[in-house]
């Protein structure tokens, strides 16, 4: 019984340190498995969206849709990625402005 209690104590300490997470089951979401480190030419990109940790992905990424419809994964915090996103946002704002 003493060893039993000791085992439980060790168990509780380990658990306290690590804190388990069963609810975080693998949902098999569409995600980026890796991101490119090489800049993508901005003129190939026609759209983007975020796939972040809160979307159930392990690798946070910006997904750029190219003109041919491929979906390329880019790191969200790189300057060249931010630049492309800003340009796309500007363009879409312009397109909206001209259409209305």
């Amino acid at each position: 019984m003493a060893s039993h209690a000791a085992a439980l104590l060790v168990l509780s300490l380990l658990i306290l340190w690590t804190s388990s997470a069963l609810g975080g089951a693998n949902d098999a979401e569409d995600c980026c498995l890796s991101v490119t480190q090489r800049p993508i030419p901005g003129n190939l990109v026609q759209g983007f969206r975020y796939l972040l940790l809160k979307d159930g992905c392990r690798v946070p990424a910006v997904v750029f849709t190219t003109l041919r419809g491929r979906q390329l994964c880019a790191p969200p915090n790189q300057p060249w990625v931010v630049r492309i996103i800003r340009r796309l946002q500007r363009n879409s704002a312009k397109a909206k402005g001209s259409s209305s």
Binding site: L8, S20, D27, K54, V63, L72, C73
Partner: protein
């Protein structure tokens, strides 16, 4: 962060041509898992509902039988078996919610999401902790029956251990209770655990390691050690009862290994990937998801099978059940042949009367 998804055009099959020209290596692309998701949508709810039905019926029966028998003095194993049934029953109660969520998205709000995830996590952990407790109890019961065994502990000890296990399980469920979110993605609401940004990878990795170590290695270690010692004692004892008891031991350990080992191995591989930040190809990632899904269903089945393995195999339980079904509880008054057996006194392991030798299994 909250940016609108870009306008989507219809996607043709990928063609690696001129866009690829500026780069010799293929660029990392989004990994679509529509086929795995389709399988998951069919597999997860059906497993969940089957296990829920089995779990509710079996564990409900165990609890009802215990309550009907109104046995006051319970052995530690008996108390822990009852708690195991309770944990599995609670787990089974959460499964229909999970199935509904997988089928049509989560529509019950954030508070329910946290409550259900927390309950799921707590009862799952309580379940395996009680399994380890039961193996230890059984070993202690055998050891105590030996002439040189330890002296009996206070009867309140089992209840204290139960309380500790439940508190521990609640602690374990804290991440699920705190961080479960009702989030939206592509029009579907999902109840899932999302760690706060920043510590995510570390905590996720640590939690996965904890799941393998605590959820499998430790209980298996405790069970293997206890049942090995037990088996040795039983082998030294001749008689049909001890052979029967041995068979039960083998069944318990085999079931635990068969149901839990594949999932734990899959989880271990996944954890290694996570910690090593290893990149897998899309097909490999899909195979891994599939493996986790199928083995996860197997691990869940343990909750439905526990009553069969732990309670129904016991003679005492079957007697109590027969009594329950006949509609007669056992009367507390004087009875010619007392039908409410008291806690058996284990004087000797080798005394092959029914109460003595089989009582380790029948609480």
């Amino acid at each position: 962060m909250g940016t609108e998804p870009a306008e989507q055009v219809s996607w043709g099959p990928y063609s690696g041509d001129d866009e690829e020209a500026y780069s010799a290596e293929p660029l990392p692309e989004l990994c679509y898992k529509a086929d795995v998701q389709a399988f998951s949508r069919a597999f997860q709810p059906s497993v969940s509902l089957t296990v829920a039905a089995l779990g509710l019926a079996g564990n409900g029966l165990v609890l009802a039988t215990h309550l009907a028998a109104r046995r006051a003095a319970r052995s530690p194993t008996s108390a822990h078996l009852l708690q195991l049934a309770l944990a599995d029953l609670l787990l089974a109660l959460t499964l229909p919610f999970a199935a509904a969520g997988a089928l049509q998205g989560w529509s019950l709000g954030s508070v329910t999401c946290r409550a259900i995830s927390g309950l799921y996590s707590a009862s799952f952990h309580a379940g395996f902790l009680f399994l380890a407790c039961i193996s230890a109890d059984r070993y202690v019961a055998i050891a105590r029956a030996l002439p040189a065994g330890p002296r009996p502990s206070a009867p309140g000890r089992a209840h204290l251990v139960s309380v500790i296990v439940w508190l521990l399980s609640l602690l374990l469920a804290l991440p699920a209770l705190l961080f479960s979110q009702d989030g939206q993605r592509e029009g579907q609401r999902r109840c899932r655990l999302v760690f706060p940004e920043g510590l995510t990878q570390t905590v996720k990795g640590a939690s996965a390691v904890a799941q393998v170590v605590l959820g499998f290695a430790l209980p298996l270690g405790v069970m293997a050690a206890c049942y090995a010692l037990l088996g040795r004692t039983l082998l030294a004892t001749r008689g049909p009862e001890s052979r029967r008891a041995l068979r039960v031991v083998v069944a318990l350990v085999a079931a635990f290994v068969v149901l839990q080992l594949p999932y734990s191995l899959a989880l271990l591989l996944d954890t290694a990937d996570l910690l090593a930040a290893r990149e897998r190809s899309c097909p490999a990632s899909k195979r891994k998801d599939l493996a986790l899904l199928v083995t996860g269903g197997l691990a869940l089945a343990r909750c439905g099978l526990n009553p069969v393995l732990y309670a129904f195999l016991g003679l005492r339980f079957r007697q109590d059940l027969r009594r329950l079904l006949r509609g007669g509880g056992c009367s507390p008054g004087p009875h010619p042949r007392s039908r409410c057996p008291r806690r058996p006194r284990l004087s000797s392991c080798s005394a092959p009367t029914e109460t003595n030798s089989v009582s380790f299994w029948d609480h």
